[in-house]
Symmetry: C2
Subunit: 192 residues, 2 copies
């Protein structure tokens, strides 16, 4: 006889996105090597402090198309040169799987790009959900100078993560601060 | 040449769960006929007012295992006899697909039951996510007397909804108020 499957309860703070019951995966500046346009600012910052850039949860649900992977993502405020703190960003390995990001706190942008070079940029504000279409790599960017960007995400659990493509090529567009405001500009280091 | 797919942005209030940009699906008392244990209380309440019991969003994402369906669900406070306001509840048509409910506001219970009769009941409180395992029907129940129960849900978009099984048989357990507190009891009207 099979043991019945059990439900899972997890706390994710609506204030800071963190959980008291589960460990987050933490990405510090050193994990972002090569991803920021201003390499000397990156090296200078890193020499000072390998600061926390973002963290997120992997709940370990089975990698099946019958399941949905979920959790929170927290991007802390900060910049490397004029470029805002951001996640690495990734394609899904099953490239035409989607993802939803529901913003709980802060102010951000969701950068999306498909292999053909179509770019979508959407604002993340508390109470706004952004649905990433099939075939788009996606990255969360915190454009607030003071507050963490907290989102609750969900995607088909068989999607998988392809980080390598973005690590190698980058996104075509980046978000930088110009005159105190976020601006989407071409990525000078993007490789076609 | 194909037109690239576009991202979708939707507002869901973190306060009341509702959207300014999308219509909700509304379930009033008359839609709940036969679902409450106290039939005479139900008829009496309905004769007075076909009140709103709950509402939720169907974002209309393609019914593909590559996509994730999502939205908010809002159950308003109230009781029929001693039984709390609740959603109809459903199995997924693809019965072994899962679902996550992330509570944004209020106080509730998520009632879950599989065809073998295993029952799981979990509390819904702000900042708590409940993951419904494969093969479990699920229903949200608002146990607050004053506040709406607001959750953000996500499930594999090919899951489908089987409402009929619950409409016919009911859940094995219901949640009623006893001495001012929620209590899980056998459903006197459950049909095996």
């Amino acid at each position: 006889m099979n043991t019945p499957l059990k439900s899972i309860v997890t706390d994710f703070s609506l204030i800071d996105g963190l959980s008291q019951s589960r460990p987050a995966i933490r990405r510090t500046l050193s994990a972002m090597k090569g991803m920021y346009a201003d390499q000397s600012a990156f090296e200078r910052d890193l020499a000072r402090d390998d600061r926390l850039v973002y963290e997120y949860f992997d709940m370990g649900v089975p990698h099946s198309e019958k399941e949905v992977a979920y959790g929170t993502s927290i991007v802390y405020p900060g910049k490397v040169g004029s470029e805002y703190h951001m996640t690495k960003g990734h394609f899904h390995t099953v490239i035409d799987t989607t993802e939803v990001y529901f913003c709980l706190r802060g102010h951000g942008m969701l950068m999306m790009e498909n292999p053909e070079g179509d770019v979508e940029v959407r604002e993340l504000k508390p109470g706004f959900a952004v649905y990433v279409p099939p075939r788009y790599a996606h990255r969360s960017i915190n454009v607030s100078s003071t507050e963490q960007l907290v989102t609750f995400f969900a995607f088909p659990a068989h999607a998988g993560h392809d980080y390598g493509t973005i690590e190698t090529k980058g996104f075509r567009k980046i978000v930088v601060e110009r005159d105190g405001k976020p601006e989407v500009v071409d990525n000078p280091r993007w490789m076609s």
